[in-house]
């Protein structure tokens, strides 16, 4: 019996979409519901509690804005990595991914300075439900930044050896999602006063 006639699940692509990309979209769908639930809850509470505006006035909008720029620019290198992977240049793709990871680290560093400052000022998790939401939502997002960086590092190590280049794209899709979540968090937590 020849190997080609074997019914191997991973060699099929009935929809025409590579299975890895398909799974990534489903993963993101489930993530959207998680963040969607949290943010909906926050928005409904925010509407019911106008007094949270005074609390929100103490968030550091500048740090948030800088972080937005950092995160969005890191997505550019993720796209360039994908482009490099498509042309089969694994080394270049890996380098761009490391650049993206650098952006993620910068984001986390700025965030930790920001939070340290806020905690010192007394704006701690339990000060009011606004701050509970603030740390919960941004913390959950930060966890995704960390998880994404680890995933990208694994993909980059393989890609540098020219292996599993299709994963560069999947990592990029995930990273864009992490960006998009922040794009929602920034106005909701920082700008809305």
């Amino acid at each position: 019996m020849s190997t080609a006639a074997k019914p191997i699940a991973t060699l099929r692509s009935v929809t025409g979409v590579p299975t890895g990309r398909l799974a990534m979209w489903w993963l993101l769908a489930s993530e959207i519901v998680i963040f969607g639930g949290l943010l909906m809850t926050y928005v409904m509470h925010r509407i019911g509690h106008p007094e949270w505006a005074t609390e929100a006035a103490h968030t550091n909008t500048v740090a948030g804005a800088v972080n937005t720029v950092v995160l969005l620019s890191s997505s550019l290198s993720a796209v360039l990595a994908h482009q490099a992977a498509q042309t089969g240049n694994g080394k270049k793709a890996a380098n761009y991914l490391w650049l993206t990871i650098l952006g993620a680290c910068m984001f986390l560093v700025i965030k930790s300075f920001e939070w340290t400052h806020e905690i010192k000022e007394g704006f701690v998790l339990t000060r009011s439900t606004f701050w509970s939401f603030y740390y919960c939502a941004a913390g959950l997002h930060a966890l995704h930044v960390i998880a994404g960086s680890i995933a990208m590092a694994i993909v980059a190590i393989d890609a540098a050896k020219g292996k599993e280049l299709q994963r560069v794209e999947y990592a990029g899709i995930y990273w864009h999602f992490v960006d998009v979540v922040w794009v929602f968090l920034f106005p909701l937590l920082y700008i809305a006063k």
Partner: protein
């Protein structure tokens, strides 16, 4: 058996197959992997299915034991309970909480979705394994970890969580109220991990069914049960997110002093109810649909008839899935929600009974005029439809917001949802097991013992819950530990019904002895070979050897037709396997 062929896309599968190939040292036979690789670290979907199934059954034993303990306390309050001891009120609350949690999250979910999904999807769509075998393995490992954490929560200082399986705050959010700080934290953690396990598994099921169907198999050629498990996975994925966020918030409330849900500090306890039931009600359909799918397949096979209105049935399922996201607040009619909102949710709740009723009607239409054989799986399949119907019909009383004010939190509710969940979980498990175990193990079960087991289980089950409808109507509140403390409820005629219910439970539990005897007799004594296709069914899993070898199919199955071509007048044989080439 080298399968390193032309793999281009996904490292996962090749790794899985390599594990099989490499791990042959220590065994003379080339195909045989070591014990750990074979039973504990396997990426084979059939082994993972069995891991899920037996873990689920083991958890069900714990859940059943808890039910035994608190039913004995209710029938004979304050008396010594054999094999348990005396039950305190705190222990009572812990027992009911974990009974519910285990039966839904650690029995119904792993057995109906994960075990049967893992076993059936690759076999029924004609491929060797899931598209992500290692993620599949990870899914089981996370699930096992969550089960261990849940069991550990019984043993920590303060005992297990006791705030009911719905975990309403403020009781669940503050250990000053529930007196189980560690127990409640571990409970939330275990449930959250369990969700992660099923998200991983669900992505696998959905992508496998979407991308890896055998050549020729269109979406409309997939057997009902595959459709149902995939839709259930999508429902789960779309509904569980807000509860994951809610679980994080509850963990913060319990451990870090936030007050999302604490009303005394400005939090909102009803918020939890929304987050919980936004998941909790679709969850009913998440476990219902796989059981519905199994019964549909079984009824078609043993009626020797085409499943009536296959496509219409699927459209009703899509409808059910969509509507199931708009009914959740019927659990909160007396939680202080706006009465205008209660009206809307009454309407949506009553509407959702229409597609469910339609599914039952379509099954009855399939039976009509069929050549019915009452094998054991068929009995379970029919019992599922009949018993679930009782659960559905009593749900209409509860879905009407006016009536629910009276019924809420009474034993009527308990009886109602057990008439849905017992058919789903227990009848569903036996239905699937008796039908597909010949494929799983290659051996037939004993029909006589199977029928004895079936009838005693069904009699016991109805004996438990029919009396509880009446005690509920007479005012039995569901969260009372000892009715002697309430003079208006401590009446002998009510107590008689409670005792009948407990006797019913004892009957139902002892009936399982026949199941165990059946397993031992069939698998170790008679060992009657099943052959490839003992039920003469059409779907692809019956067209490969029993039990299926690693890789399932020796050659590529090509699919030519839908799964339910039975008793076609122009054919001599009354079934027509999906992969049998049409006569030239």
């Amino acid at each position: 058996m080298s399968q390193t062929a032309t793999h281009h896309d996904h490292g996962t599968a090749t790794q899985g197959h390599d594990a099989h190939g490499h791990d042959s040292h220590g065994h003379g036979h080339h195909e045989e992997p070591g014990f750990i690789k074979k039973y504990l670290w396997s990426t084979d979907h059939k082994m993972i299915a069995q891991q899920y199934m037996w873990t689920g059954v083991a958890m069900a034993l714990i859940g059943g034991y808890l039910a035994y303990a608190f039913r004995m306390q209710l029938a004979f309050p304050g008396k010594f309970i054999p094999a348990y001891g005396y039950m305190s009120s705190l222990q009572y609350n812990t027992a009911v909480t974990n009974h519910g949690t285990i039966m839904i999250f650690w029995f119904a979910m792993p057995v109906l979705i994960a075990a049967f999904g893992n076993f059936l999807i690759p076999l029924m769509i004609g491929c060797d394994d899931m598209v992500f075998p290692r993620i599949n393995r990870l899914s089981y490992q996370v699930f096992l970890l969550s089960a261990i954490i849940l069991i550990a929560s019984f043993l920590v200082p303060g005992g297990g969580f006791n705030g009911a399986w719905t975990a309403y705050p403020p009781l669940s959010g503050n250990s000053e109220y529930n007196m189980a700080h560690w127990g409640s934290t571990l409970w939330v953690l275990a449930v959250a991990l369990e969700f992660v396990a099923f998200l991983l598994g669900g992505i696998n099921f959905i992508t496998t069914a979407m991308n890896s169907r055998a050549p020729g198999m269109r979406l409309w050629d997939m057997p009902l049960v595959v459709w149902m498990i995939v839709i259930a996975s999508i429902l789960f994925m779309a509904s569980v997110g807000p509860l994951i966020a809610g679980a994080v918030m509850l963990l913060f409330d319990q451990n870090f002093g936030t007050f999302f849900f604490a009303p005394e500090r400005g939090g909102d306890p009803v918020l939890w109810q929304h987050l919980f039931w936004f998941f909790g009600h679709p969850e009913v359909y998440v476990v219902l649909l796989p059981a519905m799918g199994m019964s549909g397949d079984i009824i078609a096979t043993f009626s020797r008839k085409k499943l009536f209105a296959y496509k219409t049935l699927l459209y009703t399922v899509f409808g059910t899935g969509i509507i199931s996201f708009f009914v959740w607040a019927h659990h909160q009619f007396i939680a202080g929600i706006d009465p205008r909102m209660a009206n809307i949710f009454t309407v949506t709740t009553l509407i959702i009974s229409v597609p469910i009723a339609e599914m039952c009607f379509l099954f009855i239409a399939t039976l009509y005029g069929g050549s019915i054989t009452l094998t054991v799986p068929m009995l379970w399949g029919l019992a599922f439809v009949g018993e679930f119907l009782l659960g559905g019909v009593t749900g209409i009383f509860l879905g009407a917001s006016g009536a629910d004010i009276f019924f809420h939190d009474s034993y009527f509710v308990v009886a109602h949802f057990h008439y849905t969940f017992v058919p789903i979980a227990i009848i569903g498990f036996f239905m699937g097991f008796t039908y597909w175990s010949p494929k799983m193990f290659g051996l037939m079960l004993d029909e006589t013992l199977g029928k004895i087991h079936f009838w005693i289980t069904i009699v016991g089950f109805n004996m438990i819950f029919i009396p509880l409808f009446f005690t509920g109507l007479w005012g039995d509140h569901r969260r009372i530990y000892n009715y002697n403390n309430f003079s208006e409820l401590a009446r002998p005629e009510l107590q008689d019904l409670r005792i009948i219910a407990t006797v019913g439970l004892l009957i139902m539990i002892s009936a399982q002895v026949f199941f165990v005897i059946n397993l031992v007799k069939s698998y170790f004594v008679t060992k009657k070979k099943a052959g490839d296709n003992p039920w003469k069914a059409n779907t692809l899993e019956w067209q490969c050897p029993s039990p299926p070898p690693h890789g399932n199919f020796a050659t590529m199955p090509n699919v030519y037709r839908g799964p339910y071509e039975y008793s076609l007048p122009e054919r001599e044989s009354d079934f027509w396997p999906q992969n049998e080439p049409p006569a030239a």
